[in-house]
């Protein structure tokens, strides 16, 4: 629409402006979290099991890429979360941002049933859990959904929050991802 440019230019000219162009930029979305990786390493040794969720375009329509793994029964795993912003180069490690503000963040995990349980293995300055590192213990076989939430500014002193009960935590959800979780 060339004519539209002329019309806009006419308006601009009518009040003494001479251009109707703009030069917007794409903001640097450094705060964005695109990638969640949960690595579960068996204490007894062996290959780590990886759950990952990649959503590179934020709220855009691109389907996220989800990778999920399978755990053994009656085993103990050391879990570590890694958060990345892969929409920018170089890739930003968001885990360290979360660790730096440990008191303002907490991960919450839910497993399909009581056959699988977890405990936090890290603490913030108040001796409250963060949840970047965890220990997961499996029992009898189970099959269902595992959900991981990262809450910003939860009330870590509220009842139950310390042990991973999200009910009274409040705050704002920065991450909420679900995986098919199988123990066999």
């Amino acid at each position: 629409m060339k004519s539209l440019n002329y019309i806009l230019l006419a308006f601009a000219a009518s009040i003494g402006l001479t251009s109707c162009e703009k030069d917007p930029q794409v903001p640097n979305e450094e705060e964005l979290i695109t990638t969640f990786i949960y690595t579960l390493t068996p204490q007894a040794g062996g290959d780590p099991v990886i759950f990952s969720f990649r959503d590179l375009d934020g709220s855009g329509g691109l389907e996220p890429v989800i990778v999920q793994g399978r755990l053994d029964t009656h085993s103990i795993y050391n879990g570590v979360v890694q958060l990345l912003n892969e929409s920018v180069t170089p890739v930003i490690d968001i885990t360290s941002e979360v660790a730096a503000e440990a008191r303002e963040h907490q991960f919450f995990y839910t497993f399909p049933d009581s056959n699988t349980s977890y405990v936090y293995t890290d603490t913030d300055a108040d001796n409250n859990p963060i949840g970047i590192s965890t220990r997961v213990t499996t029992g009898d076989p189970s099959d269902g959904l595992m959900t991981v939430l990262l809450r910003h500014l939860p009330d870590k002193f509220a009842a139950g929050v310390k042990t991973g009960d999200i009910t009274n935590a409040g705050g704002e959800t920065d991450i909420e991802v679900s995986f098919i979780f199988e123990v066999e």
């Binding site: 539209l4 703009k22 930029q25 709220s59 503000e101 303002e104 991450i175």
Partner: protein, 770 residues
């Protein structure tokens, strides 16, 4: 209801007598009359300040004062139950001065704004709120003040943000006209309020009908007009100084206004400072709902000659307001959790003035030059140039010390030129005019967040004409308007890699209106108006893209939107029984073809923050219809009863699906008692008011998370009085809102998912008029 005060509008007519002047033997005489009915107003008091003379008119409103020397005088006129009015003029010889006082002006009568010509206004469906009523509500927001007009409600986003809903329409469909200029701000979201200080205004008018055609395509649903108005020609400093305190939010409001007239200049200055902290429901504090505002304005009129005047107007509006901490959610599970709670998350058990993120900071400048030339007493032309700057910064709670960096940072510039020619003298009275505007909206990209609304420039042109033809007891009127809107925007793609897309849109719109007034007797008037108007889509509807965090939804604009077409008809019947009752009923129907709204898609979009519902701007034919009623009754000079009722429905035309944010049925009734005036204490009134809001049963479960809240009843109490000290007056007001401390939620408040409304509030106001 708040505006029960009888507000006075005085029209001064001076008829020069033919007796020659003698030193200190001048006589002035005249009559005080009700402007609407021309009935005499008995026992009106008239005081001449400089001469220290005070008389009371007789039973037919006639008065006479003798023994005045030639000179300039302040004259105070006062009638029972009305605030006193003050005038200033020079007297050289015997003079007849009639005072035309108008009752109930803010509810039923239009206000003539053009001072000199008495210029015609269409027999319009519009109502005004006077300066006194505005000052009586110092501290309230613009939208909350207009709520007292039947058919107007306020759409709110917590305590500090509210915008008017007129006949069920709001936002992009209600034009906000600030001193003759279309307010150029970021008002596209329900979480953005008009950047206007009501205390700088002397008249606030709501236009609901076809005459909104003057204001362009944005006024499809009506217009809210805020004006400083003319300045009294008085060579002394006059004005008001007011202070208000409210217990709920521990809010302080300080307002001031002064005017002064020089030989060729008239000057008015206004200023407002407002500070509120956390509001309180009956059960808990609404943490982070404080507001700070600092506003000012200057109006300078230069009378170049008898027929030409120039005016310069500048206003500044700055505000900082907190968003309720308990409404801070980022995805659906947060929302569901928040909805289920008795008490919101993140609230403190103590009061604070602190405003923390999430918060908004807004600065709005408006500069206007206008000139007016009278060709004849009733023919004039006006030309206007306006410049506006609107800077809006919205802060969020962010990670990594980014909370101090705004998440949204928009700078909007707007230039407007306008021209108007009014002929009020010819057989067919007419008004023609045009507007051209150029708007530039730019994001600051240091936010690190994809902007919800992209950079854009917009050029618009509008021309209109209005005609009015009196035909005996009929007045016929008609109007036409053409609008052109050219839009160029630079949205950022949501796909990867992010890139800038350039888009262009061009819209042409034509609007037509016809109307008629039939006045069978002076006590009965029927008005009918039909209007066909169009509105082109606004940038947010076209280009919005991304996550709207506060509502946990992804909103998508639609580049294919076309202009809406509205067919609105309003039928109004006014009846009055002198000395007893005034009644007005208004029926309306508004069919909007291609009504633009956010429609939930059959899609949940999975992101790393969870799954979000997707809303897309869609067009569908819709139908709004409603009924407004007002009754004012003077049982006696002491007792006044007032009731208002409004009912409105809005749904899609084909499937009959209810539209969002249609105000529930509202009924209010108040009883006021005016006490006898004492020697010093005058205008003492006590008012009790009940407001009943029904539950909105018409709602769409697909577009809402929660059923509308239950019906509720509020009880309010008000006391006001004034005392004269010398020739100055001090007004006092006490009020209790939500006297029963009712816990309730309001369907028209976006924060109803998270918290109750404010509990009981005591307010105290004092105002010194000099």
């Amino acid at each position: 209801m708040i505006g029960l005060k009888k507000v006075v509008f005085i029209f001064l007519v001076m008829l020069v007598g033919n007796l020659s002047a003698q030193d200190c033997h001048i006589r002035i005489a005249g009559q005080a009359l009700d402007k609407a009915t021309l009935e005499p107003l008995e026992f009106t008091s008239v005081a001449i300040q400089e001469a220290n003379i005070y008389v009371i008119a007789d039973s037919v409103g006639a008065y006479s004062i003798e023994g005045l020397c030639p000179g300039s005088y302040h004259i105070h006129v006062y009638h029972l139950g009305c605030p006193s009015a003050q005038y200033f003029f020079s007297i050289r010889k015997d003079t007849v001065v009639n005072f035309y006082l108008e009752h109930h002006d803010e509810l039923l009568r239009e206000v003539v704004v053009e001072s000199k010509s008495g210029s015609f206004e269409l027999a319009n469906t519009q109502q005004s709120i006077s300066a006194t009523a505005i000052r009586d509500q110092a501290g309230e927001s613009l939208a909350d003040i207009t709520k007292q007009i039947a058919g107007v409600r306020a759409l709110r986003n917590g305590s500090g943000i509210s915008k008017p809903i007129i006949h069920g329409l709001y936002g992009n469909r209600v034009a906000v006209v600030n001193n003759g200029l279309m307010q150029a701000g970021q008002q596209w979201g329900t979480d953005h309020a008009p950047e206007i200080d009501p205390n700088a205004a002397n008249i606030i008018t709501v236009v609901k009908g076809a005459d909104a055609i003057v204001y362009g395509s944005q006024a499809l649903g009506g217009a809210l007009i805020v004006e400083a108005g003319p300045i009294k020609r008085d060579p002394h400093f006059h004005g008001t100084l007011g202070y208000a305190y409210e217990t709920n939010g521990q809010g302080h409001t300080l307002t001031g206004m002064t005017t002064k007239s020089f030989t060729n200049f008239d000057l008015r200055l206004t200023g407002t400072f407002k500070k509120f902290g956390d509001h309180h429901t009956p059960d808990y504090f609404l943490t982070n709902t404080g507001t700070t505002e600092l506003n000012g304005s200057m109006q300078l009129i230069y009378r170049a000659s008898e027929n030409v005047q120039h005016q310069l107007y500048y206003s500044l509006f700055t505000s900082s307001l907190g968003i309720f901490a308990g409404s801070h959610i980022s995805n659906l599970s947060d929302l569901e959790e928040a909805i289920g709670r008795d008490e919101p998350f993140n609230i403190n058990d103590y009061f604070s003035y602190d405003i923390n993120p999430p918060k908004q900071e807004v600065t709005h400048h408006l500069l206007k030059y206008s000139g007016k030339k009278f060709v004849d007493d009733k023919i004039f032309m006006e030309w206007v140039y306006g410049l506006q700057s609107d800077h809006r910064q919205e802060y969020d709670i962010r990670r990594g010390n980014r909370s101090e960096i705004p998440a949204l940072d928009l700078q909007l510039w707007s230039n407007t030129i306008q021209f108007k020619y009014i002929n009020d003298q010819s057989l067919i009275r007419f008004k023609i005019g045009g507007q051209a505007a150029y708007t530039d909206n730019e994001n600051d990209y240091d936010t690190g967040v994809l902007p919800l609304i992209p950079d854009y420039i917009e050029g618009s042109l509008g021309i209109f004409s209005l005609l009015q033809y009196p035909l005996g007891k009929f007045i016929l009127e008609g109007g036409a308007r053409y609008d052109l809107q050219a839009l160029k925007a630079w949205p950022i793609s949501l796909t990867l890699p992010r890139e800038i897309v350039v888009t262009e849109h061009l819209f042409h719109d034509v609007a037509l209106s016809i109307g008629g007034v039939f006045q069978s007797t002076s006590d009965a008037e029927t008005r009918l108006q039909l209007a066909a108007t169009r509105r082109s889509p606004d940038p947010n509807e076209l280009y919005n893209n991304g996550l709207h965090q506060g509502v946990a939804g992804i909103e998508e604009g639609n580049w294919d939107l076309e202009s809406e077409l509205s067919l609105k008809s309003i039928l109004t019947q006014t009846l009055s029984i002198p000395e007893l009752l005034r009644f007005e009923i208004s029926l309306y129907s508004n069919i909007i073809y291609r009504y633009i709204y956010l429609k939930p898609e059959d899609e949940f979009r999975l992101t790393i923050r969870g799954a979000f519902p997707v809303y897309k701007y869609t067009q569908e034919d819709a139908w709004l219809r409603g009924l407004d009623m007002v009754v004012i009754s003077d049982f006696s000079h002491h007792l006044e009863w007032n009731a208002r009722f409004s009912w409105v429905r809005g749904s899609t035309l084909e499937e009959g699906r209810p539209l969002s944010y249609i105000p529930p049925t509202y009924l209010s009734s108040s009883l006021a008692w005016a006490f006898h005036d004492g020697k010093k204490w005058k205008g003492t009134r006590a008012t009790i008011e009940g407001e009943y809001t029904t539950m909105q049963k018409e709602w769409d479960a697909e577009s809402d998370f929660l059923p509308p809240p239950e019906a509720y009843f509020l009880l309010n109490l008000r006391l006001s009085t004034s005392v004269k000290i010398g020739h100055k007056t001090i007004y006092f007001g006490l009020g209790i809102e939500n006297l029963l401390n009712t816990s309730y939620r309001d369907y028209l408040n976006r924060l109803r998912y998270f918290s109750d409304e404010q509990g009981i509030n005591f307010s105290a106001r004092v105002r010194y008029e000099f």
